[in-house]
């Protein structure tokens, strides 16, 4: 029982449920209390103990069905001919098992359930639970079959069929066995793949999405990226929301303490502490949304929007040839993807003009910048050989507390052609490459660590 439970729990973990060892113990204990007899009760009990959120319960249910569905009852029915034949041939041994190896003749006499167990055993020996890819199914099928005397069986069948039909008394049995073993093994591998392989390949796919350059992703993959962004942001929010309260308590506040204890004749029973007020930083994002960096901009805006909970005062400006404050558009809690698409459509056309964008930004946001503000510029610094307006940029960075530049281009391309990133970078506190989701995540984490 323990082995089975441990197997099930590792399948759950692979499916993304964070099951702790304490929960494993509780699961074992509840099985001890309730017993194995009632499958529905067992499922409810394990779901209570192991799945702690609503989405987790859904995943748990799927995983449970896959794991405890033995497959013997599904799809692969015992071949009725084998059963009937066995009853006719009394006793089975009487018919010569001429030339058959002992293990093969055992298999021939095995019931369907025994056969299923043999296949399962062979599968465990072959390490089918390590399956990762759909395409590996063939390899594992061969490994299982080899353990079940497959080559000999095929050979015997070949020999028998080359003789006159019906010559070998057990030819039909052997054909049935061959079909049954194959079907059972296929079924076993499919279940193992669903249980162990699919979650793993999902992890691999995620890793690929995180590390691929964003402009090489197709629309379907971008959609998956959005889900990933949501997950990343959830993690960051959880981490940094707690952080901001760390330094709240300061030294003893003598005045308030005395005042609060006046009713106790001035005896100090209750102490009051000074609270440190920390100004929260104000983030300004200046995002290039022109054609060349469009896909990056979409995910960047999604990040900024999603971080609203921890950066509530963030201001967002988008520009290509002209600049627009899109904060309100993003904050109107509606369909964020729609809002971003609208932004990109409205402003995204036209050639990039950093000079006019910076001038506009200076006029609109300049008065709001102070040493408590963080300026983030997102763009490839390709100004079509126009004036980069370095003076304006210098003035802006001088007013802001810190300035970071995110460049979605690979760093091998920086400062080639019309890119003037080096000129801008001189005034920045940090210059980062942000061509993959992973790099975007790393920057967001860095930013939150620095500012919150």
């Amino acid at each position: 029982m323990e082995a089975e439970l441990v197997g099930f729990i590792s399948a759950l973990r692979r499916a993304g449920l964070p099951v702790s060892s304490d929960e494993t113990l509780a699961a074992a204990e509840s099985i001890r209390i309730l017993g194995f007899d009632n499958r529905r009760q067992l499922k409810s009990a394990l779901s209570l103990v192991l799945a702690k959120t609503e989405p987790d319960k859904q995943r748990f249910s799927e995983c449970f069905e896959r794991f405890y569905n033995t497959g013997a009852t599904q799809g692969v029915e015992a071949n009725p001919q084998v059963e009937t034949r066995r009853q006719e041939d009394q006793p089975p041994q009487a018919i010569s098992d001429q030339g058959l190896t002992p293990s093969l003749s055992n298999l021939l006499q095995a019931s369907h359930e025994q056969l299923r167990l043999s296949v399962q055993q062979a599968g465990e020996n072959a390490g089918v639970e390590n399956i990762r890819l759909f395409t590996q199914r063939g390899v594992f099928l061969r490994r299982i079959l080899q353990q079940l005397d497959w080559p000999e069986l095929q050979q015997k069948m070949l020999d028998a069929s080359q003789g006159a039909p019906g010559r070998h008394p057990r030819l039909a049995d052997m054909q049935n066995l061959s079909a049954n073993i194959q079907a059972l093994a296929r079924d076993y591998i499919d279940r193992q793949y669903a249980l162990h392989g699919q979650p793993r390949s999902a992890q691999m796919r995620e890793q690929m999405l995180m590390q691929t350059r964003i402009n090489q992703l197709d629309p379907g993959q971008i959609a998956s990226c959005r889900k990933l962004v949501a997950r990343i942001v959830k993690r960051l929010t959880r981490h940094f929301k707690r952080r901001k309260r760390y330094y709240r308590r300061g030294m003893l506040d003598l005045h308030t303490t005395l005042r609060h204890n006046m009713s106790n004749e001035g005896i100090l029973f209750k102490l009051r502490w000074r609270r440190k007020h920390r100004d929260r930083p104000r983030v300004f994002v200046l995002c290039d949304v022109s054609g060349s960096v469009r896909q990056y901009a979409e995910l960047m805006l999604l990040f900024v929007y999603s971080l609203q909970d921890i950066l509530p005062r963030a201001q967002c400006y988008a520009f290509a040839s002209r600049l627009e404050n899109i904060t309100a558009l993003l904050k109107a809690r509606g369909d964020i993807e729609q809002a971003i698409a609208t932004t990109l459509r409205r402003i995204g056309g036209g050639a990039t003009d950093y000079a006019s964008a910076l001038d506009d930004f200076c006029r609109e946001a300049g008065p709001m910048l102070n040493r408590n503000s963080v300026l983030i510029v997102f763009g490839d610094a390709r100004n079509n050989h126009g004036d980069p307006s370095l003076d304006t940029f210098h003035r802006l960075t001088g007013k802001a507390g810190s300035t970071y530049w995110l460049n979605p281009e690979s760093h091998f391309l920086w400062n080639t052609g019309d890119s003037v990133i080096a000129d801008y970078a001189r005034d920045c506190d940090g210059l980062f490459e942000a061509s993959t989701l992973e790099q975007l995540e790393q920057f967001c984490e860095y930013l939150l660590r620095k500012t919150l």
């Binding site: 304490d22 204990e29 209390i33 309730l34 009760q41 409810s44 209570l48 702690k52 004749e265």
Partner: protein, 310 residues
């Protein structure tokens, strides 16, 4: 720290005991309570408002014949409101009353150091269990016969408070710096409820069994109506449940909860309504729906929602 395994030997028996108290428990709910009791783990109950999460704790207390101790969480609930507080007034009163005693005791000691030494001994007197005002969490641990501790709407509290709960939820003990650790005399059955206003921390979830109560199915809702309002005719109860079930499929600002279904049924009984017709429903819709927009919305769709007249 001991706990008798209850006389209730199976989830089914527990469901019967809950049922006799008027709480119709689904199989999963009774199993959850049963396991929480036997594994000695807290039970975290989530679900939409009004599906009977708080009621479950009350019913459990009645079924197990234990006192119910309730802690209502809100933004700003802290140690002093939830766990314990020193009885400042009593401490003060005692120091005043015992002033002369103190003078006498301190009088014969020579020098400051000796007096302070004697005062140190006093500390322990004034900071002892006698001067502690137990709040719900501590009170639940102190019950000789055990108790049902309901920590209601835990999602309304702040994250710091959740951390405070962790010790009591995993070890059934609280640490008071001046005194030490106080363990439960008997392990209480702890039930936490949450309306999912805020994500609870993983640490809290890990320590609890997790039960999600959705809106009841029609069968169950009829059973609840019949149990709460024995006077109601089977036909009316069925029609009510079917109507509410259809309402819950609509996109409403606030879905009608079980308690509202019961209130509505009670209103219909008062009006001596035997069946659901357009006028009756229109005039009583405000019992069931609490937003004007929802009422208007449903009134428009009423012909499709009501069963065709026989």
């Amino acid at each position: 720290m001991t706990m008798d395994i209850d006389a209730l030997q199976s989830p089914a028996e527990l469901a019967t005991a809950l049922g006799s108290g008027g709480y119709i428990a689904s199989e999963e709910v009774s199993l959850a309570l049963y396991l929480a009791r036997h594994l000695q783990k807290p039970l975290l109950v989530e679900g939409p408002p009004g599906v009977g999460k708080t009621e479950l704790a009350k019913a459990a207390a009645a079924a197990l014949d234990l006192p119910l101790i309730r802690l209502q969480c809100y933004e700003g609930v802290d140690e002093a409101k939830a766990l314990y507080e020193w009885k400042y007034g009593k401490q003060l009163l005692y120091t005043q009353v015992l002033k002369q005693q103190l003078d006498r005791i301190l009088g014969d000691s020579s020098g400051l150091a000796a007096s302070v030494e004697k005062l140190h001994a006093m500390d322990d007197i004034f900071f002892s269990e006698r001067f502690i005002e137990p709040r719900p969490l501590l009170k639940a641990l102190q019950q000789e016969e055990g108790s049902v501790l309901l920590i209601d709407e835990v999602d309304k509290s702040e994250e710091e408070f959740e951390a405070l709960l962790l010790e009591i939820l995993s070890d059934y003990q609280v640490s008071i710096p001046e005194i030490g650790t106080i363990s439960a005399r008997r392990v209480p059955l702890v039930i936490l409820t949450s309306n999912q206003n805020r994500e609870l921390s993983d640490a809290l979830r890990r320590r609890c069994l997790h039960l999600y109560i959705p809106f009841p199915g029609m069968e169950q809702e009829i059973a609840i109506l019949r149990s709460r309002l024995p006077d109601i005719a089977q036909q009316l109860a069925a029609a009510l449940a079917a109507f509410v079930d259809r309402l819950r499929q609509l996109d409403l600002n606030k879905q009608p909860a079980i308690s509202e279904t019961i209130d509505w049924a009670r209103a219909l009984l008062l009006l001596h309504a035997n069946s659901l017709d357009r006028e009756v429903v229109l005039s009583t819709l405000n019992v069931l729906l609490k937003h004007q927009a929802d009422i208007d919305n449903v009134a428009d769709q009423l012909p499709q929602l009501l069963p065709p007249a026989p």
